[in-house]
């Protein structure tokens, strides 16, 4: 089964370099509710993917996590594996956690007030088609392939449909 | 031959000529008609000036002009002229022209004759002839009108027959056929019977209930000018003239007979106006009013006191004026819009201002709004009724209430007419209705202005001019001083007061920002109205007709339960079975029969 593949560092680098305009074809919430002039983006599935990937792969899973402690809304929790989870109904997007994390794990952009969704384009792709994020994303940073996780190459499996490459933070 | 003879003859002869003139010379026909009617009108004026005249023939006073007949004559002449003028515009492009002007003239002549007749036989002859011309004129309306014509013929002709009987009785009782001499007391059975027969004849002509039912049908199908001419004005004048003549001169009425008249009057007022309230056709509605208003005249005459009789006679004239005017307005509307169905009209005020103005004046006049003429005559009738109360008795309350309430109902139905025809929303946007031409507009305007003038100068012109002299000439009635009736209030002063009131309003207006009048679309809650969303107003009084008691009355009326014609037809259906042989079903044949019979009678009686 094909999976979405993200090369997080590559993505970061590209982002630092310049504009990164990755589009997403997630069918719901395509427009921002207060987007009167067409300026504000709507749902950005890629943000959801990156958040998921970051929590799974990059986060150091601190014992007494600063991020969790700092959250004024108790929106962050850790599950049994120590992976962070942000509860969408509680997080108010205040970004205290961003500041609190000593490792800079949580990017400010990654925690918008309005949570994004990604369904990995399941059920929506015609045979042979690639998700829109892959098509519009920078080459190599996002792919849609039959890729198996490979710890050696720092390619990790996150969920059933996502694999993430992240070299800087080797576990 | 004297002036009287010429007055009667000229129209008859001219009618015959017009009848012969080929249709191609339409202008000639119209010309003759106009000239003749104008001339005879002038002659009636002369006669009116003369005041009193008798013309003898074969040793009898056949024609007699007195203060009563002279003013009726004058008005007949006037209406003849006005209606013929109006016909120019109205009849344009209609069929049956050949007959039309001829019969108009015949009618004119016969009407003169009937009014001037002093001999009952002569009266009968003209009366019968009038029935015939009426029939023919209605028939001008085309095949649709034949039913109405037949109905008219039967009712009017039938009551004519009653008249014949009445004349015979009177002749048998007194040995005289003079209309003015004998004062027959209505104490004997025969006297009562004769009076009732006479009254029936008068009622049928004038259209009082229960002999009214020919009028609505006629109004609906006959040409409007005919309706305005005959049932609305001339027939009313004639019928009430006859009634006045017989009840004031010929007979000496008792309380019982008065009661009969009052009952008929009151009943006619209310019943007819109730019918008018729910009509959906303009002409039909007007015709019910033509019936209803007769009630006032009958009431007025029935009071048999000077003011009441004067009121009744005055009302007769007034009615002829405003009802003629209303029918002419109806005709104008019909000519411009092609229909008199109230549902299909509306918003014409802007397009036909003259018609609208005349119609408003006439409608307010008929409803008795001061200071118009209808108010004055109704007021006199009311006073007459209350005068009755002075002499004791309690029932006068009924007549008074009936008369006054009938007036409110009249107003109600004319509000409906004004709304449905002239106000409200324009029915068809595309059709560009225009004002009618001058030959039609002038008659309407003249009549409307008469309504105003006779209201404002009621005493100065009509009352002192001809009504009061006519009443005064009757032996049993003598007119008291006018001041007794009017006090310091006179219609003229009233008018000035109302005008001053209006001026006060105008001052207030001008204190406001009257210049800032701005036309704007109408407000219906922000939506724009589509044409179908207009309210025609024809159903305004459904609330009345839906009420328990009235709804059943109306249902009955719908089944013609109150129509003497249908009742009579049912009865006669059994009687006539034996006469089946002569019953060919061809109307002219019936006519011939009747005329022949009448002729024979005349010959026998005059011999």
């Amino acid at each position: 089964m094909k999976k979405v593949f993200i090369d997080l560092e590559h993505l970061d680098k590209l982002e630092r370099d310049g504009d990164l305009d990755i589009q997403c074809s997630y069918p719901f919430h395509r427009y921002h509710p207060y987007d009167r002039w067409g300026m504000r983006p709507g749902n950005d599935g890629i943000a959801a993917l990156r958040e998921l990937a970051t929590y799974a792969v990059v986060c150091r899973k601190c014992e007494s996590a600063n991020c969790v402690n700092s959250c004024p809304q108790d929106a962050l929790e850790k599950d049994d594996d120590g992976i962070l989870r942000r509860y969408s109904l509680r997080c108010i997007g205040c970004r205290s956690c961003t500041v609190a994390c000593p490792f800079g794990t949580i990017y400010p952009e990654a925690i918008p007030f309005l949570a994004s969704g990604c369904d990995y384009c399941l059920k929506r792709l015609k045979p042979g088609e690639e998700p829109l994020c892959v098509k519009t994303g920078p080459d190599g940073a996002i792919k849609y392939t039959e890729m198996e996780p490979d710890e050696a190459k720092s390619i990790h499996k996150v969920g059933d449909h996502l694999v993430v490459k992240c070299e800087a933070w080797k576990r | 031959m004297d002036l009287i003879g010429y007055t009667i003859l000229i129209p008859l002869v001219a009618g015959a000529i017009v009848r012969i003139v080929p249709d191609a010379f339409k202008g000639l026909k119209e010309g003759i008609a106009l000239v003749v009617s104008a001339v005879t009108f002038y002659m009636t004026i002369m006669l009116f000036r003369q005041g009193f005249l008798e013309s003898e023939w074969l040793g009898r006073t056949i024609f007699r002009l007195d203060t009563l007949s002279s003013f009726v004559l004058l008005w007949i002449g006037f209406f003849g002229l006005v209606m013929i003028l109006y016909s120019f515009g109205y009849m344009r492009g209609k069929e049956y022209l050949k007959q039309y002007y001829a019969y108009m003239l015949f009618t004119l002549g016969a009407a003169y004759g009937a009014v001037l007749a002093n001999d009952m036989i002569v009266l009968l002859a003209f009366w019968g002839f009038l029935g015939f011309t009426l029939y023919m004129l209605i028939a001008v309306g085309g095949p649709k009108a034949s039913g109405a014509a037949k109905k008219t013929m039967v009712i009017v002709g039938g009551t004519d027959a009653l008249l014949v009987l009445a004349v015979a009785i009177v002749w048998a009782m007194t040995g005289s056929t003079s209309l003015t001499q004998p004062s027959i007391p209505t104490i004997t059975g025969l006297g009562v019977f004769a009076f009732i027969l006479f009254a029936c004849g008068a009622f049928a002509k004038a259209g009082a209930m229960p002999f009214h039912s020919w009028i609505p049908d006629t109004a609906e199908f006959a040409p409007t000018s005919v309706v305005a001419y005959l049932p609305a004005s001339v027939d009313k004048l004639l019928g009430i003239y006859l009634l006045a003549r017989v009840s004031l001169y010929l007979f000496n009425l008792t309380q019982g007979m008065m009661l009969l008249l009052l009952i008929v009057g009151a009943f006619t007022i209310i019943a007819a106006v109730m019918m008018a309230l729910v009509q959906h056709d303009l002409k039909r509605l007007l015709s019910y009013h033509a019936v209803s208003q007769v009630g006032y005249m009958v009431l007025g005459i029935g009071t048999l006191n000077p003011i009441g009789v004067a009121g009744g006679l005055f009302h007769m004239v007034n009615h002829a004026i405003y009802k003629g005017c209303l029918f002419l307005c109806g005709g104008s509307v019909e000519q411009q819009e092609g229909t008199t169905d109230l549902d299909k009209l509306g918003g014409l005020a802007k397009y036909m201002p003259i018609t609208f103005f005349s119609c408003v004046i006439a409608a307010l006049a008929i409803s008795g709004i001061p200071p118009l003429n209808g108010f004055v005559s109704k007021w006199m009738v009311y006073q007459g009724i209350i005068e009755l109360g002075r002499n004791g008795g309690h029932v006068w309350v009924i007549w008074l209430v009936a008369a006054m309430f009938g007036s409110a109902l009249t107003l109600a139905s004319f509000m409906k007419v004004l709304h449905a025809v002239f106000l409200g929303v324009r029915a068809k946007k595309a059709n560009g209705a225009r004002e009618v031409g001058p030959t039609m507009a002038i008659p309407m305007l003249v009549l409307a202005i008469l309504c105003l003038a006779f209201g404002i100068f009621a005493y100065a012109i009509p009352l002192s001019g001809f009504i009061l002299p006519a009443v005064d000439s009757v032996a049993s009635l003598s007119v008291p001083g006018i001041d007794e009736w009017l006090g310091w209030w006179s219609p003229g002063l009233a008018t000035i007061m109302i005008i001053v009131g209006v001026v006060i309003g105008l001052i207030i207006y001008s204190a406001g920002r009257l210049k800032a009048v701005r036309p704007d679309s109408m407000y219906v809650g922000g939506e724009l109205l589509t044409n179908e969303e207009r309210v025609t107003g024809t159903d305004f009084y459904d609330t009345v007709s839906d009420m328990g008691f009235f709804s059943s009355m109306y249902k009955w009326a719908e089944k013609c339960a109150f129509d003497t014609y249908y009742i009579g037809r049912k009865i006669s259906y059994y009687f006539v079975k034996g006469l089946k042989a002569v019953h060919t079903g061809i109307l002219p044949e019936y006519l011939t029969w009747m005329l022949a019979g009448m002729f024979i009678l005349v010959v026998i009686l005059l011999r």
Partner: protein, 155 residues
């Protein structure tokens, strides 16, 4: 116990039932074949005596979904009949004649979502202005806001 209802429907329209999802004892979602929707709806409405609450139209990934919410007031339970319609040309038989209360909501779904209800007695606009541009269905998920000046919106 409540499943008498469910069993009854299954027994009667076995073939037409695509899926049954019981979220909780009080909420049941039944996906039915669009072709037999009118019969099922009528059965639920007439024979089970359910009250028609409302219908929800949705533009989902798989297609247009119409959810007819019926309340079984005696059993404290909501039966939701779901039909899934074609994405390109959503069309389903109207049940307005069988369940009169659906008339307005079907009109509304028609104008806001562009679902066609076959044989509906009156398909005029219900909520939107009469001059609302044709083929412009705001509740569809790909509906584009018109503040860009598109769609003939008056500026």
């Amino acid at each position: 116990m409540a499943d008498e209802v469910l069993e009854g429907i299954k027994a009667k329209f076995g073939g037409a039932i695509v899926e049954v999802f019981e979220k909780s004892p009080r909420r049941t979602y039944i996906t039915v074949d669009p072709a037999s929707l009118p019969e099922v709806a009528e059965y639920v409405y007439k024979d089970l005596g359910a009250r028609f609450s409302i219908a929800t139209g949705m533009h989902m990934v798989e297609g247009f979904e119409v959810l007819y919410h019926f309340a079984l007031d005696n059993a404290d339970r909501f039966l939701n009949l779901r039909v899934i319609l074609d994405l390109d040309k959503p069309s389903v038989e109207s049940i307005a004649t069988r369940v009169p209360a659906t008339e307005w909501i079907e009109r509304e779904m028609h104008e806001l979502l562009g679902i066609e209800f076959r044989n509906h007695p009156d398909m005029r606009h219900l909520l939107l202005d009469d001059d609302w541009p044709e083929g412009n269905y705001p509740l569809r998920r790909d509906w584009k806001d018109w503040r860009g000046g598109e769609n003939g919106n008056e500026k």
